[in-house]
């Protein structure tokens, strides 16, 4: 059996207590929600912890509700399966439902949470291996090693973001609530991330992601969105590329756009120039879409650290951006079908 190393499990019943335990114990403590990322990582000894603080008993953290302004509030420990099946998500934020439904597999979505998905560890072929394998190459920068095997001349880690909900929620302009020992703050979800494979979260370690707020202005009544994911199999596999787009329009003209990419950078990188290229142009202007797709490719920095060739993933970033933008613009989508899942 591949066993977990021993640790102490704490199950606090408030956010303050959860934050206080982690603040007090420092790097030796970690949060766990569904455990579908932390337990595999601890089994393979990527991540270590003397104390693991479960968030599953914190009251109110598993609530999914609409607030008075029409925003949708998803608590940090709401499972992916609940997000995917929620009628409000399906009708008001269909691309979010699709992004979440594309994650892992049915039992894993029944266990994994939205908070865990947004904080999921970055991934790399030289990292997501057994302990023996990693020891044989003397580890790498993301652990105790001194070299990045993906870019040996580089002083940084290029491990890629693995979350499928992050680019989608960033495109929709969602915000996240972070609860620390001294109270809560709310930031744009896109600001939660840093372009660094090791230090990928811009939050303090003791801060709990308590809630995701998806704004009313991003729902299907105001905004058209799409999510395209590329991977080898239609289930279980992580993305090697994902493209999330959101478009706002008035009288047939694009007034605002957001495009974020998953798995081709250390963070859910935003393609701001591409989005700008669409603004002021008619919705469904094929030339504008092609231009934007080319600009999307420029912000993708796929490295040879996951399945498929990096160069091809770059090519596909343009193709998938074009398809996602066509879908969101109501145009016919040709070319490769999005590998969301086995059933649409």
């Amino acid at each position: 059996m591949l066993r977990l190393p021993p640790f102490r499990l704490r199950t606090p019943s408030s956010l303050e207590e959860a934050a206080r335990i982690v603040a007090g114990e420092g790097p030796a403590a970690r949060f766990v929600a569904g455990g579908t990322d932390l337990w595999p990582n601890m089994k393979r000894r990527h991540q270590k912890a003397d104390t693991v603080v479960s968030l599953m008993a914190v009251p109110g953290l598993a609530e999914l509700r609409g607030d008075t302004g029409g925003n949708l509030e998803i608590g940090g420990t709401v499972t992916l399966d609940r997000v995917e099946r929620d009628e409000r998500v399906q009708t008001r934020f269909p691309a979010l439902a699709r992004a979440v439904a594309s994650i892992s597999s049915p039992p894993l979505r029944n266990m994994g949470t939205i908070g865990g998905n947004l904080c999921v560890d970055t991934r790399c072929t030289y990292y997501n291996q057994t302990e023996e394998w990693r020891r044989s190459i003397d580890y790498c920068l993301k652990e105790e090693g001194t070299v990045c095997w993906v870019a040996p001349g580089s002083s940084r880690c290029w491990a890629h973001t693995a979350s499928d909900s992050a680019p989608m929620l960033a495109a929709l302009g969602a915000r996240v609530r972070l609860a620390g020992a001294e109270g809560e703050r709310e930031i744009p979800l896109a600001d939660l991330y840093r372009d660094d494979g090791i230090d990928y979260l811009g939050k303090r370690p003791e801060e709990v992601l308590s809630r995701v707020v998806v704004p009313a202005e991003a729902d299907a009544g105001h905004c058209r969105s799409a999510f395209w994911k590329l991977r080898r199999r239609g289930s279980i596999d992580f993305a090697v590329l994902s493209v999330a787009v959101a478009l706002w329009q008035e009288h047939g003209v694009v007034t605002r756009a957001r495009i974020h990419l998953g798995a081709v950078a250390s963070w859910p990188v935003g393609a701001e120039k591409a989005a700008e290229a669409l603004v002021g142009r008619p919705v469904g202007d094929e030339e504008a879409i092609r231009e934007a797709a080319k600009l999307v490719r420029r912000v993708a920095t796929p490295m040879d650290n996951t399945d498929f060739l990096a160069q091809w993933r770059g090519v596909m970033a343009e193709r998938y951006a074009e398809s996602a933008l066509r879908e969101a613009s109501g145009l016919e989508v040709t070319g490769l079908a999005p590998n969301h899942r086995l059933v649409g």
């Binding site: 066993r3 021993p6 049915p106 279980i236």
Partner: protein
């Protein structure tokens, strides 16, 4: 650091009070403390589905969840699918159709399918494929698995459907999984889950 804990787990409707190290997974405790070895261990990293059990009726990978977090919940394993020595419809359909070859993936697939059939008595082929998309099988090529689930679903709905008897394994009586003749075949009387 991680103390032994004592917990009362409700498994297949039966309460069991067991002591185990607090960091052990449900998979470890089911197999090692409860001696329920029907639940298999494959990758132990969430990638294969061999360890799937039901918790409060929903599929859970027992390799990625702590046993101590399951007190007060309804845990079901493949051992609970049979009624005494009579196998359930899914089990019989898998055995008779040859949807289990080496059988290693079978307990996990049976549990994932069971969860679906309780919610959705008439699943489409696509729905079955989607539900089982977290379970890997290296032997069957999946087609027989999907057919067996369809057959078991029909039997549960009380329909007299089924494949032609000549394609069934064993000594086919008119093809009714979990039919009304207990003990007619070895596969229906013995628990093949160890």
């Amino acid at each position: 650091m991680s103390r032994a804990v004592t917990a009362t787990l409700r498994v297949n409707g039966e309460e069991r009070t067991v002591a185990f190290p607090g960091h052990h997974t449900l998979l470890e405790v089911l197999r090692e403390e409860c001696a329920l070895t029907g639940t298999k261990h494959g990758c132990e990293l969430g990638e294969c589905g061999a360890c799937t059990v039901l918790v409060d009726g929903r599929p859970v990978l027992s390799c990625l969840t702590l046993a101590c977090q399951h007190e007060g919940r309804e845990i079901e394993t493949v051992e609970g699918l049979a009624d005494g020595n009579r196998l359930g419809p899914l089990q019989v359909a898998f055995a008779d159709l040859g949807a289990a070859q080496c059988g290693y993936c079978t307990p996990g697939i049976l549990m994932a399918a069971e969860a679906m059939l309780r919610e959705q008595p008439r699943p489409s082929r696509e729905r079955i494929a989607e539900q089982l998309s977290g379970n890997l099988c290296r032997c069957t090529g999946y087609l027989k698995i999907v057919e067996a689930v369809e057959w078991a679903a029909a039997v549960r709905r009380g329909e007299d459907a089924g494949p032609p008897p000549e394609i069934l394994f064993g000594h086919p009586e008119p093809g009714r999984p979990g039919g009304d003749a207990p003990g007619r075949r070895p596969s229906e009387t013995a628990s093949s889950n160890t």
